[in-house]
Symmetry: C2
Subunit: 202 residues, 2 copies
């Protein structure tokens, strides 16, 4: 029996998907929203954690790092993520968090069952249709520091506030913003945020 924890923020879809998965022979399924995921992994010790990356409240990015096998000692669950090919930054983060399975949400739900069975025996599973997303993720142009600056700006912080948060001078923050705008091919800061969010980098 493979014990699965399904992580998804919309209760309506989560319930139906968990019920559907639970009917599969050999799968026993629990489910949770993102905010309780780390605690449920610790209490349930599932074999597989299947997590939806699409949206937390329709925008923002889910705390994938908290599901990381590296963070959950003992016998950590194998991680499968449900993703869209057009959010390559999220795919990259999931890979960094140690995900073994990558299922395209544009595909059939049967693919999720295949992925769960694969990662349960520690075999990688990657939907071919996510390939282009991975290619784009490999080309992510921003450094970690640039992402920190852009993330604060996207939260509405001023140059002075960003400088204060990251212990940088105003001039350095302006240089980072200019570099981010150039590297993302954006017309201005708002455009850089729009592009980076669209790619799932933010």
């Amino acid at each position: 029996m493979i014990r699965v924890l399904l992580v998804h923020d919309a209760c309506l879809e989560r319930s139906v998907l968990a019920e559907w998965l639970d009917r599969e022979p050999g799968l026993a399924v629990d489910d949770t929203p993102w905010r309780n995921a780390a605690a449920r992994i610790r209490s349930l010790s599932p074999d597989v954690c299947a997590a939806d990356l699409a949206c937390v409240d329709g925008h923002g990015t889910p705390p994938i790092g908290e599901l990381s096998p590296a963070r959950n000692g003992g016998r950590p669950p194998a991680l499968v993520v449900l993703a869209h090919a057009n959010r390559p930054g999220l795919l990259k983060r999931a890979a960094e968090a140690g995900a073994l399975g990558f299922v395209d949400k544009a595909g059939s739900p049967d693919r999720l069952v295949h992925a769960i069975r694969s990662v349960a025996v520690r075999e990688r599973f990657v939907d071919a249709s996510l390939g282009f997303g991975f290619l784009k993720a490999a080309q992510m142009p921003l450094t970690r520091r640039e992402l920190s600056v852009l993330s604060l700006a996207a939260g509405g912080a001023s140059i002075a506030e960003i400088a204060g948060s990251l212990h940088l001078s105003h001039g350095t923050v302006r240089n980072y913003m200019a570099s981010i705008t150039r590297k993302t091919g954006a017309r201005n800061r708002i455009d850089a945020i729009r592009i980076s969010r669209g790619e799932g980098w933010l």
Copy 2:
């Protein structure tokens, strides 16, 4: 028999939800992504259209207006939407598009079945948990013109580009941006976009 068209962008969840709904006595369910929704309404003439507002590609807003009963003459479908309480602007748009049913995605899938049966006999169905969202939607502070300006800014357009698109002077666009920033309680333009998107106004 109530013929239902389920509109949802993620094939994986859509398939499972459509299959689940189709098992309900008296419901016959077809499903489609948003991009084909209007065409499917015309070809299938469903009794009810149940549309997910949560996310198109994880961001942006769905073209609710295209599902509007007013746009689909003859015998238009009754419209149910699946929504989050924290996107009040989307609730408002759905109400303007003539939706009769409002189902909270944070609730049980059984609520969707109740909503479908209610609107099929042209009775209103509103999840109580969406009440706060409606209250906030009623307080949406921006005018249509301000929303147009903000929407172009959010797309990365410069003041000059916005002025060109809307046939306004640069000074008028700057005045609109200042008014938007003030009305949304934002610190700056980026913050105004962030707040408005969070509320589902954009």
